[in-house]
Amino acid sequence: MNDEYTPKIIGFLCNWCAYTGADLAGVSRIQITPSLRIIRVMCSGRIDPLFVLKGLLKGADGVMMMGCHPGDCHYQKGNYSARRRYVLLQKLFEDLGFESERIGLWWVSASEGPRYAQVSSEFSEEIKKLGPNPVREEIFI
């Protein structure tokens, strides 16, 4: 074991695309970053901005959201709503002086196993550069 810092990242993955994509990446034996903790949701539209906020305030170093490409949503329009909420949340984070780089949204389809592995490890690297979430230093929030 080395002492290198591994960030803790929460990933909200859509059941119909990114979650299956992650499965495919595993089956294809592609190296996947160990820092991601996956939570399966039925649609990216189900990701309440409060989930993301709570994760970060409880000390997660980053939050990834993944859903189907625009137009491919299993429920027709869930990912469009997710996109609006993500934009809103990112703007809010900028205004409050939070690091908006700690959240991200990607479209990953069920057949994009390699893409899943790539975006998650890229994001993990970025968070590693940012360092631990400053919220962790604030105990009484």
């Binding site: 990607w106 105990i139 929030i141």
Partner: protein, 369 residues
């Protein structure tokens, strides 16, 4: 140019005269307005159906005991009112009402909306600490000269939307030099004109935007910038937020007073965000300490996510805060930037959907690729 009803009386008496006319001629069945409750300046919103009861009505009194948008939404939540009522309310209250209607929390039907170019309101605290009487004496003078009255709510001093957009009638106050001699009521819609047929006074043609209103708007914009800059001085990020909300009692008074927060059971009061002993235990193990009550920052940011995009800057939240947290400043700052992001002005257009409840297929296309 729009038609203006001129009544040869001071603005307060003139408006009362008009209300009396509306009620006596049975054009409306009731009047919803502020009414004086005692001699110390306490006022409350009232629904009046008998002309005799209008004698204590003070439609333009510079206090906002509660955002009227919230009350009107309560009236019409289940069913639209079936008889015409004239409601006198401020620009931000009207905007809040429209935001609530967009969220299917009310109906505009049968309302005759009377609003005014607003000079702002005083904090409710000025009533209890006895400074109100002193302050109110210079209120009308400031309005006349299109100045920002001192000691009004900070959000009022920074409010640039003091000319109501959706009202049937607008009482002109800002920049009117002859406030004591003449009452000018702009008839913005056909409905407004129909209701004033036979009213005392004469009709002339005038423009609501004058040099004075532009002057006041510029002053308020400057004040807004100043207010936001001052807030930014506290610094950014989680550290600054913890400091700002340090005194928060978690009373959730800000959300109860907020006209946009309409949920019967707020998410943050529900079981969803209940802190159980087990979650305390986990957190203590990880961090070695917790704040009690927990989750204040989460509550405030969460509330921003839910309603800041519709924030009308009425300032009720700051006013009711028992520990003087500048809630309204933070919310209007965040709200301002979110509204700009979606190119949206709350309460401007009843047909325009709320940004957080809609989407366009061709927008933010660079995201997620």
């Amino acid at each position: 140019m729009s038609n203006v009803l001129k009544i040869k009386k001071g603005v307060e008496q003139g408006v009362n005269e008009l209300l009396k006319f509306l009620l006596e001629s049975e054009k409306v069945k009731g009047i919803f307005t502020l009414r004086k409750m005692n001699e110390n300046g306490a006022v409350s919103y009232s629904l009046i159906t008998h002309p005799k009861e209008l004698k204590n009505a003070v439609p333009l009194f510079p206090l906002m005991p509660v955002n009227a948008g919230k009350i009107l939404s309560g009236f019409t939540l289940k069913k639209a009112i079936n008889e015409p009522i004239a409601a006198v309310l401020r620009s931000c209250e009207l905007r809040a009402f429209i935001e609530l209607i967009k969220r299917t929390q009310g109906s505009l039907e049968n309302f005759l909306l009377i609003s005014s170019t607003c000079g702002g309101v005083y904090p409710l605290k000025s009533l209890t600490d006895g400074t109100f009487k002193e302050q109110v004496s210079q209120y009308w003078e400031s309005a006349k000269n299109a100045e920002i009255a001192s000691d009004i709510r900070p959000t009022c001093a920074a409010c640039e939307y003091f000319i109501p957009q959706q009202a049937d009638m607008t009482i002109a106050i800002v920049g009117k030099n002859d406030l004591q001699q003449e009452c000018s009521i702009f008839l913005n819609t056909k409905k407004g004109e129909e209701f004033t047929i036979g009213a005392p006074g004469n009709i002339v043609s005038e423009e609501i935007d004058t040099k004075e209103t532009t002057k006041l708007r510029e002053k308020r914009q400057d004040q807004k910038k100043k207010l936001f800059d001052e807030f930014e001085k506290n610094g950014f990020g989680i550290k600054a937020l913890v400091k700002t909300f340090a005194a928060c009692l978690s009373c959730h008074g800000c959300s109860k007073a907020c006209p946009i927060c309409y949920c019967t059971l707020c998410d943050f009061d529900s079981k969803t965000h209940e802190y159980l002993p087990s979650s305390h235990e986990i957190e203590l193990e990880q961090k070695g300490g917790i704040r009690i009550p927990p989750g204040t920052i989460f509550f405030h940011i969460g509330r921003m996510i839910h309603m800041a995009v519709s924030c009308v800057n009425c300032g009720m939240c700051s006013d009711v805060c028992p520990v003087n947290i500048p809630v309204s400043t933070i919310f209007s700052k965040v709200g301002d930037s979110l509204q700009k992001l979606f190119d949206y002005l709350p309460g401007k257009d009843i047909e325009e959907p709320v940004p957080s409840g809609t989407y366009k297929e061709e927008e933010f296309t660079e995201i997620g690729e």
